[in-house]
């Protein structure tokens, strides 16, 4: 047998070996991917903002908007390739990475067999995105003594120093996997990002099914982040001053702020209005910005509320910062409003006659089902599920939002606080689930986040021209 015959025999054997090597687990590849994608896509727990944001409230939106091609492009930058993968939930952050707009930090600590690394920040005048890793140590005395519970995952709660200016913290975007980059976003609402930020990372076990955190911390890490002043100087404001009437209510689009991490449209309302503005649906075109210049959504904090009223006064989109354009067209497509004197919605949660007793459900919202479960500890839980027509506020059909406030009144008119979840589902409606834990009453009074939806027949166009500013 000559040399080439040997090679061909080897080739045929390799083909055969490959056929033999296919494992049974391959059968489950679709189920695993589907379950993982659904976990990431369909369920978003609305994270309560940190206590320090009490003066300001923030609205959260989860949009199904992975920017994979951008992330893949970024992955060509060797140092930032892991970061590129971690920011694929955000168009603005992906473009920031693509443009090398990243400050490397490189801090780490090890405690109780757990290692915390802070690798990068993406920061501008108003927002800090911190990218960090958390993992169990392998080897060593501490690493070998760790008892790991397979029903829990290594999670983190991130806080910043109590003496920091008013801010909101959003965590949960990006990966939550051990050893991979995680991110937390801190928005400074009334002031600029400070140049030094004391950061606390509390490593905790979290139940993989319920997502409940353990009370005890596995380890607490305290870091001091020194932010490069170049980054905290980045941002600009364009004057607009355009009037906008919605359902007989008068508003003024005052300014638009552009930062590398986001765009923010600021709105003022007429004092004579009978409704609060709760949400504004719009998209932005960066003129001359190229084919990707339509900015429709943003993950994480999508709007900011007033300090003094229940009104929402600032609305965010992905940033056109890296588009090399100063001129923007803003297209208003819809809104959600709430009557200032709206009343709560009283719901009967036990048989018979389960359903709405009094009050009006918001536009586009219907009650789907109420279920009652008794746990092993004997405590009953009531779940109330609503469906909301996607896009009935003129917004993207891929967006979900909070429909009900988390405060409620129980059967004895005492105030309580409930968990709310939202899921996108595959239909033209999304689901909002309200969970009343340990609830033994027949009725509950809940409060909608809005009462009316408005969808523009034609988008209202507003030009923001930086050359006039």
């Amino acid at each position: 047998m000559d040399y080439r015959d040997n090679r061909m025999a080897e080739y045929e054997k390799m083909l055969k070996d490959l056929d033999m090597a296919v494992p049974a687990e391959l059968e489950g590849v679709w189920d695993r991917a589907s379950a993982r994608e659904k976990k990431h896509r369909t369920v978003m727990r609305f994270v309560k903002p940190a206590a320090s944001i009490a003066a300001v409230f923030a609205c959260f939106v989860l949009s199904v908007n992975f920017i994979t091609p951008v992330a893949q492009a970024c992955s060509k930058i060797p140092v930032l390739k892991d970061l590129a993968a971690a920011v694929d939930f955000s168009g603005s952050l992906s473009r920031a990475v693509e443009n090398n707009y990243v400050q490397t930090i490189g801090l780490y600590q090890t405690k109780n067999g757990i290692k915390a690394d802070i690798d990068y920040v993406i920061v501008d005048q108003k927002q800090v995105n911190i990218f960090y890793r958390l993992e169990y140590e392998t080897g060593g005395e501490a690493g070998n003594n760790i008892e790991r519970n397979e029903n829990t995952e290594l999670a983190a709660l991130v806080e910043i120093g109590k003496d920091m200016p008013p801010h909101g913290i959003t965590w949960g975007s990006g990966s939550d996997e051990e050893g991979k980059l995680r991110s937390v976003t801190i928005d400074f609402t009334d002031s600029d990002v400070p140049e030094t930020i004391p950061l606390v990372i509390k490593a905790k076990e979290r139940d993989t099914q319920t997502w409940n955190y353990a009370k005890e911390n596995l380890a607490v890490f305290t870091f001091t982040l020194e932010i490069d002043p170049y980054y905290t100087a980045q941002g600009k404001t364009i004057e607009i001053d355009e009037k906008l009437d919605i359902l007989g209510q008068h508003f003024t689009l005052t300014t638009v702020d552009i930062y590398p991490t986001h765009l923010q449209l600021n709105v003022e309302s007429d004092e004579a209005n009978t409704m609060w503005l709760k949400s504004l649906s719009f998209y932005v075109e960066a003129i001359g910005g190229g084919k990707d210049s339509k900015l429709e959504s943003i993950n994480g904090i999508s709007a900011l509320g007033s300090k003094d009223t229940p009104e929402v006064i600032a609305f965010r989109k992905e940033s056109p910062w890296f588009y090399n354009t100063d001129n923007l067209k803003i297209f208003i497509t819809g809104a959600r409003l709430a009557e200032k004197d709206m009343e709560g919605i009283k719901i009967k949660v036990t048989e018979p006659d389960v359903g709405v007793i009094s009050g009006r459900l918001p536009d586009g919202v219907r009650l789907e089902e109420i279920s009652r479960q008794k746990h092993a500890d004997g405590k009953p839980t009531v779940e109330i599920r609503f469906k909301t027509v996607k896009g009935s506020d003129g917004g993207s059909t891929s967006e979900i939002y909070e429909v009900f406030e988390r405060e409620y009144l129980d059967g004895e008119e005492r105030e309580g606080y409930m968990e709310t979840y939202a899921g996108t589902g595959d239909s033209n409606e999304f689901t909002s689930t309200l969970i009343l834990e340990d609830y033994d009453y027949d009725t509950a009074t809940i409060y909608p986040c809005f009462t009316h939806c408005w969808k523009a027949e034609e988008p209202v166009e507003v030009v923001a021209d930086a050359t006039d500013s």
């Binding site: 080439r4 080739y11 090597a21 296919v22 590849v29 695993r32 589907s34 994608e37 992975f66 994979t68």
Partner: protein, 165 residues
């Protein structure tokens, strides 16, 4: 492409994906991880697939990116430094499997996709994001290094012809 279509197409190609990943990574565990990750990432990005007829090449491209990512991580965990370059005699002494593994990444990709993945030269070029002529040249070079003769002349002629047109 709908979610259901994605599921069907994934089931059709999963064995091919696994074999491709095996050839890149050399062990079942890593290959399965790469396929899982590729299918997940594909599902997340499926709305961006404008031409469903290119699903196979598109998902394979994602898979190869995942394989490369795993290989780079493994290299990072091993010793820093560069791999020594192999001479033709070194390749001749290696069994085929190891000789394929030792090929430079851009040549190995062509061999894996063409002769183990069963992709045509046009599909291989699309997966790797290179012109067909480049894929054909890489194939010739890789086969020369491996000194493996396969009945592939027709494909190469077609590729070269396509390039001239």
């Amino acid at each position: 492409m709908t979610r259901e279509e994605f599921a069907v197409r994934t089931n059709e190609i999963k064995i091919k994906l696994f074999k491709t990943a095996m050839l890149y990574l050399g062990n079942e565990h890593d290959a399965l991880e790469a396929v899982d990750e590729a299918v997940y990432r594909g599902l997340c990005a499926v709305k961006k697939l404008r031409q469903p007829e290119y699903f196979d090449t598109w998902i394979t491209r994602i898979l190869i990116n995942e394989c490369c990512k795993i290989m780079r991580n493994q290299k990072r965990e091993e010793l820093p430094g560069t791999m020594p370059e192999l001479s033709q005699e070194d390749y001749d002494r290696l069994p085929l499997k190891e000789a394929v593994s030792a090929l430079p990444e851009e040549l190995r990709s062509v061999i894996v996709l063409r002769f183990f993945g069963g992709f045509t030269i046009a599909e291989t070029a699309r997966i790797l994001g290179v012109p067909q002529g480049t894929a054909a040249t890489r194939q010739r070079k890789a086969l020369g290094i491996l000194r493996l003769a396969l009945n592939d002349d027709n494909d190469e002629k077609e590729a070269d012809h396509g390039l001239q047109r």
